[in-house]
Each structure stands twice: as structure tokens, then as C-alpha cells.
Symmetry: C2
Subunit: 142 residues, 2 copies
């Protein structure tokens, strides 16, 4: 199992405060030769749907040698995990979880926005001090 990200507990608490139930920590993705772990799985009832919504969360701290290098690695992991999930558990939506400092420093960059748009990358942003979610992209209608 991978080392836990520095924001692991902050992301978890932020989700719980919003009414999510953590149902896996980590969440195992098995597909043929691949046996991988995403950081968290969470579920929440939705008003409109009896089944509610389930998300898989991969937490990224972007503390590496360069922001764009960190970003393309995160993008590759996101797309690879999403491909494997679509083959094994297609009802689950994959979100990246990032801190607001990473959001401001990296996700506002035009090159990063281009790749996020073209690849339909879903993410949410937390304030890791206050342990609250401050942005969903796209919004989840509760």
C-alpha cells in the first residue's frame, strides 16, 4: 500500500463533515495484472436517488520538483485509475482532492486548465487547516 499523503486525514474529515461516509481507506482497484490503491472511497445519499453517489478519491499534494511535472504525473495517475475503474466499477466517479494552496498555485495555470478541460478531470479543493471542502469541480448536486 502506498504512503499516505500529507493531507489524508484533512480530506477525510472534510468529507465526513459534508455528510459523506468513508467506505474504503484505501480503495483497492484490481484489473487483470493491476492491483492498485486509490486513497479513499466515500458515499453519500442524494435527495433524488435512492442509491446515492459514490466517489473514489485520490489525494495529491504537489510537493515535487516542479509544478508541471507533478501535474502531469497526477494527470496520468488520474486517467489510468479512471480507465481501470470504468472497466471494473463504472458507477464510481474518480475525484482528485487537493489543498487550496495547490489549487491556486497549479490549477489556475492556463496549461493545467487546458488539460483539465480536455480530459474532464474531476477534483475538489479543501482548506486543510479548517478541514472543509471549498470547491467541487464539477459540482455534486446534493
Amino acid at each position: 500500500m502506498p504512503a499516505k499523503d500529507i493531507y489524508h486525514n484533512a480530506v477525510k474529515q472534510s468529507l465526513i463533515k459534508e455528510g459523506w461516509t468513508i467506505f474504503a481507506d484505501p480503495y483497492r482497484i484490481s484489473y487483470e495484472d493491476a492491483d492498485l490503491y486509490a486513497d479513499l472511497a466515500a458515499s453519500r445519499p442524494l435527495a433524488a436517488e435512492r442509491q446515492g453517489i459514490k466517489i473514489i478519491v485520490e489525494i495529491k499534494s504537489f510537493v515535487g520538483r516542479s509544478p508541471l511535472y507533478d501535474f502531469h504525473n497526477a494527470l496520468g495517475q488520474y486517467i489510468f485509475y479512471r480507465d481501470l475503474l470504468s472497466a471494473t466499477a463504472p458507477s464510481l466517479q474518480l475525484y482528485l482532492a487537493i489543498d487550496r494552496t495547490s489549487h491556486e498555485r497549479i490549477f489556475f495555470r492556463p496549461s493545467v486548465q487546458l488539460a483539465i478541460d480536455r480530459n474532464a478531470v474531476k477534483f475538489f479543493v479543501i482548506n486543510s487547516q479548517q478541514e472543509v471542502i471549498i470547491l467541487w469541480n464539477p459540482e455534486i448536486n446534493m
Copy 2:
């Protein structure tokens, strides 16, 4: 500029032997905030087209801590560079260049094949000892 991959010269010689002209080494990709380098750019006349074909080549050796970790990083770099190229030089096709040992060890894995198919990743494979290209995916019709 990034450190040169261990296969840099073998890839270059393999392309030249097949009739390609190297027109950039490295090839700079500039888009808004991003200033990045792909390893090579090469061109070749085609029988059917006066303009010929131009490709950008990113060389990957997969010598890191785990094959799937290496792969998702390469996938992210490929997709990010392809997104930036499509905004700046849309006639250029981006190929990954890999050695046949990486091809056999990594690209035959079902999880990797799934991601390559879903994301339409283009690549070619060299025999780095003989400095020849042994596979194009997809084929380039000369």
C-alpha cells in the same frame, strides 16, 4: 532542459536509418505559462503528400520503482504534451519511443493496453542494440 534519456541516441539513429530528418533536438513546446521540451522532432516525406509527416518524439526508458507507476507518469506526460501540441502545433503527431524490453515488460500488460487504447497513445518500439525501429503503433504509411 531535461536530462537526456539513456536511449536518446539509439532512437535518433533508428529514425535517421528509416529516412527521417531530425529537425529539433529537443523540441520546445511553449503554451502560455508552460515551457517544456519533448526529446526530438522528426520529419519525413510521404509519397502521397507534398508536405510529408512531422512527429514529436518523447523517449521513455521505464527504469523507475514500479512499471505501472512509470507507465502512468509517461501516460500523463504524453497526454499533457499532446494537449499543448494540439493548441500550438496541431499538425504534429506525438509518439512515445520505447525500447523493446520495455515494450515486452510493460506494454503487453492488460491494464496498460487498456489505457493505451482508450487514450489513443501512439508509440514506436526500437531495438536499441541494432538501432532500428521494429514496430509503429499506429503504422505510418510511407
